[in-house]
């Protein structure tokens, strides 16, 4: 698939999502304590916004319970972390505490061989990889409640 064909397909998926749910997929980009790089956060946010997502950005070094509150307040579909490991596990718990365990968690990062098969089962999504983004959209579409 050529790059523009892939981009068109993402666009179509987002449009379909909008038609079905009344809004765009909304994603909170969060950098948990210990994560590095505000620039990476902005880059990831820009990529997803270009794909057609609505993107919120958390303060740097937010604790998982802070990210959870922000995710709930902005009523996002997904939280995209810039690093995995403990933060993702804690965030899962924190979202559950707020009865928003339905909000998905992803790690926004390139897939590396050593990253695969390690740690908790948090999907790694590379915003530059159209197949990744399409897979993510499909997932959100199936899990996102209609109201």
């Amino acid at each position: 698939m050529s790059f523009s064909a892939e981009t068109d397909q993402i666009q179509r998926e987002i449009d379909a999502f909008f038609q079905a749910r009344g809004r765009r997929p909304r994603l909170l980009i969060g950098m948990p304590v210990g994560g590095n790089g505000r620039r990476r956060m902005n880059e990831a946010a820009t990529r997803f916004a270009r794909h057609g997502f609505d993107v919120d950005i958390s303060p740097a070094h937010a604790a998982p319970r802070q990210l959870a509150r922000m995710a709930m307040e902005n009523d996002v579909h997904l939280v995209g972390l810039l690093s995995d490991g403990d933060a993702a596990i804690e965030l899962t718990g924190a979202l559950g505490d707020l009865s928003r365990g339905d909000i998905g968690i992803i790690v926004c990062a390139r897939r590396t061989p050593e990253a695969d098969g390690n740690g908790p089962e948090i999907p790694r999504i590379d915003p530059d990889d159209a197949d990744d983004v399409l897979r993510l959209l499909k997932e959100v579409m199936t899990t996102c409640p209609k109201n």
Partner: protein, 332 residues
């Protein structure tokens, strides 16, 4: 997965200050689905008697003026005074694909976590209602949920300022001490909607320049006729970084409120805004009905081609399309 909320769930949740339900109610308001719109209208009808008690402040300023930091500082001061503060942000969509970067909370670190604050940026694209209509409804929800100060943030470009001015009690415009000393860069329109002007970043080396800018703005304002004898627009200086002058800005806001309440102008402004709200709802509904009319949808592409090819005049094409909507009335 959270269960689907009924009308009663939404209303009870908002009125009991439930953060999660309040957030999901705002999602209903933002939604473009007709079923969600109907739900949102029903919710608004039920909660509107509980709204209206908040101080509604619009805050505008060009990018780089330090809006987020200002709101963080002012908001923290207010929650520490015991206020419940809601911050709504109207952001224009930034990208061609329609997606956008909404709230950047990187500069609202403390406020975004405070138990007495609620921050909700809203996308402005792709919805049936206009951005003003939705922000107004979101404001009603926040008020019904117990927030007694609502700050509506907007960027200093385009129509969003006028839209925000049409729903707040007072419009605060943040300025910077200009790079140039003249006033050519000041948009007259901004001065016309401003109720309070604050020159931000008046700290360190910048204090003198801020003072000079203050004089310039005061001179510019003195050439304009005040809208009401009750109020002449004050020009203040402040620093969101050092907190200098922030208290003063808030006191002026309270002063404005007190005076406008005494004269009855606050109530009158809100009545006028309500009428404008009704009008915009009607306009929006008419537009939606027209564009959702199946006959219009069907004929639209053909008319576009005809106008492009010059085989029909734009006026005649419009007339033909409009007559379709008049002949076929959709069920209400």
């Amino acid at each position: 997965m959270p269960k689907k909320l009924t009308l009663q769930d939404h209303v009870a949740g908002v009125l009991s200050h439930n953060r999660q339900v309040t957030a999901r109610t705002i999602t209903m308001i933002e939604s473009a689905l007709p079923a969600h719109r109907r739900m949102a209208q029903a919710i608004i009808n039920d909660i509107i008697p509980h709204a209206g008690k908040a101080i509604r402040v619009g805050i505008s300023g060009v990018p780089g003026v330090g809006k987020s930091t200002f709101i963080e500082t002012l908001g923290m001061m207010l929650v520490e005074k015991g206020h419940q503060v809601a911050v709504l942000a109207v952001d224009p969509s930034s990208s061609r694909s329609g997606g956008s970067i909404l709230g950047d909370k990187t500069r609202m670190e403390k406020l975004s976590l405070h138990p007495n604050a609620f921050i909700r940026p809203s996308p402005s694209s792709g919805t049936l209602g206009g951005v003003a209509q939705r922000t107004r409804e979101t404001m009603i929800v926040c008020e019904a949920a117990g927030y007694d100060v609502v700050l509506v943030e907007t960027v200093g470009v385009g129509q969003s300022e006028t839209a925000v001015a049409s729903m707040v009690d007072l419009f605060l415009v943040l300025m910077l001490a200009g790079a140039g000393d003249d006033l050519q860069g000041i948009k007259k329109g901004i001065l016309e909607i401003a109720d309070v002007i604050a020159i931000n970043k008046a700290d360190g080396d910048n204090i003198e320049r801020a003072q000079a800018a203050k004089k310039d703005y005061e001179n510019a304002l003195s050439l304009m006729n005040p809208e009401t004898p009750t109020w002449s627009v004050p020009v203040l200086t402040c620093s969101a970084k050092t907190m200098d002058g922030i208290e003063d800005v808030w006191n002026r806001i309270l002063d404005h409120r007190r005076k406008f309440m005494e004269t009855g102008e606050l109530a009158e402004t809100r009545r006028r805004q309500d009428v404008a709200w009704m009008r915009s709802l009607v306009e929006q509904e008419l537009k939606d009905r027209f564009f959702n009319n199946p006959d219009v949808k069907q004929r639209w592409p053909e008319m576009v081609r005809a106008v492009e090819n010059g085989t029909i005049s734009p006026t005649l094409a419009a007339e033909k399309l409009l007559s379709l909507e008049c002949e076929v009335r959709p069920s209400p």
